[in-house]
């Protein structure tokens, strides 16, 4: 019986070294990494738009929309992370 | 507390305009009063307004001011004589002195005072809305 080693891709996104893991799992690693980057960018964009609108340079609706997008992006990221952790835990529980 | 400061300012405005309204009402009621307790005809009254800083240690610049009614002044100019020898208040020449109240101008002042009163109410309401909105931050 082979004890399943923890998939490094699920734990540390940077570790997409491909330790003989099938292709879909490698995508998840990158997926999370990319999402973090994107959400970060959305947050910064939101901040920029807020500052811009307070200074009178940007429209208010742009600021509100970017804040909302940033929020939703973050929520999505958190959900993806939670699901991945749940999946990993479930895999761990599988008797093999 | 500073969030009530704006309300105090508006309250002073309401009080001042209310007194102004009262004075106008008195003027109009007495437009033909030829005899008063002071003797002589009714003299037109008006409010004298002054801007006062909100608190004693406020700086000279940058501090909003409330309004105060300093006094109610009487104007003796422009009393109208009318020739009416039969009138109980006629003087030796047969002239009766009528008040210097001009109803038309009093009505104009009435409208202005009324608008100003409503404006202060609007300020009060807006200030209150701002406080309510601020409370949403905590929700």
């Amino acid at each position: 019986m082979k004890i399943m080693a923890p998939n490094p891709n699920l734990i540390s996104p940077q570790g997409a070294q491909g330790l003989g893991t099938p292709a879909p799992k490698e995508d998840f690693g990158n997926l999370l990494n990319n999402m973090v980057g994107e959400v970060n960018k959305m947050q910064q964009d939101g901040d920029q738009k807020v500052t811009g609108s307070l200074m009178g340079k940007e429209d208010l609706h742009e600021a509100m929309l970017s804040l909302e997008k940033a929020n939703l992006g973050l929520k999505l990221l958190i959900q993806v992370r939670n699901k991945m952790i749940a999946a990993y835990e479930e895999l761990n529980r599988m008797p093999l | 507390m500073s969030m009530f400061k704006a309300m105090d300012l508006s309250a002073s405005g309401l009080t001042a305009q209310r007194q102004r309204l009262d004075v106008i009402a008195e003027n109009l009621a007495n437009v033909n009063t030829t005899r008063t307790t002071q003797g002589g005809p009714y003299q037109k009254k008006s409010v004298v307004l002054k801007a006062e800083p909100e608190d004693d240690f406020a700086s000279f610049l940058g501090s909003p001011e409330k309004v105060e009614v300093v006094k109610i002044s009487q104007d003796a100019k422009g009393l109208r004589p009318e020739f009416d020898p039969g009138h109980p208040d006629a003087d030796e020449k047969g002239n009766v002195l009528y008040p210097n109240v001009n109803p038309v101008s009093e009505l104009v002042h009435l409208m202005l005072a009324s608008r100003a009163y409503e404006a202060n109410i609007a300020v009060l309401r807006t200030g209150k809305s701002m406080v309510m909105k601020t409370l949403e931050i905590g929700r």
Binding site: G56, N71 | S12, G13, G62, P64, E65, V123, K133
Partner: protein, 128 residues
């Protein structure tokens, strides 16, 4: 722990914005209370100037009340927030200023709420 989210540029500007807008409401209230006071000069807060100063990093004071009362009036006028104009109060214009101020206040409050929501999402994130 980095409290960067509390002190980042946008949050700081939002907080300042709320303070300024509240002060402006008081100024407008004072103007409207004194609209019929003879020789009254209306006061205002010039937001173009205030925001420009903020962008340039110039410190501003609310009149002279913030620091010590020992300060004499007549310190650098370009650094004060509230200006005294030489004009009288026009009821209609003042009402418009009040509406604008109120809307700006609401916009700032709403954006602040959204940003705080972001923080809350991160904190609650592990929930489901």
């Amino acid at each position: 722990m980095s409290w960067g989210a509390y002190t980042d540029g946008a949050m700081r500007l939002l907080e300042k914005s709320l303070t300024w807008r509240t002060r402006n409401q008081e100024i407008i209230a004072g103007n409207l209370a004194n609209m019929d006071t003879p020789n009254y000069n209306r006061k205002e807060m010039n937001f173009d100037r205030i925001l420009n100063n903020y962008a340039r990093g110039t410190v501003q004071e609310v009149g002279l009340t913030t620091s010590n009362q020992g300060h004499l009036p007549g310190s650098d006028p370009s650094r004060t927030l509230v200006e005294e104009t030489n004009g009288e109060v026009d009821l209609d214009k003042e009402m418009v200023y009040m509406s604008q101020n109120y809307l700006a206040f609401q916009a700032s409050t709403q954006m602040l709420i959204k940003k705080l929501e972001t923080l809350r999402n991160v904190i609650d994130g592990g929930g489901k």
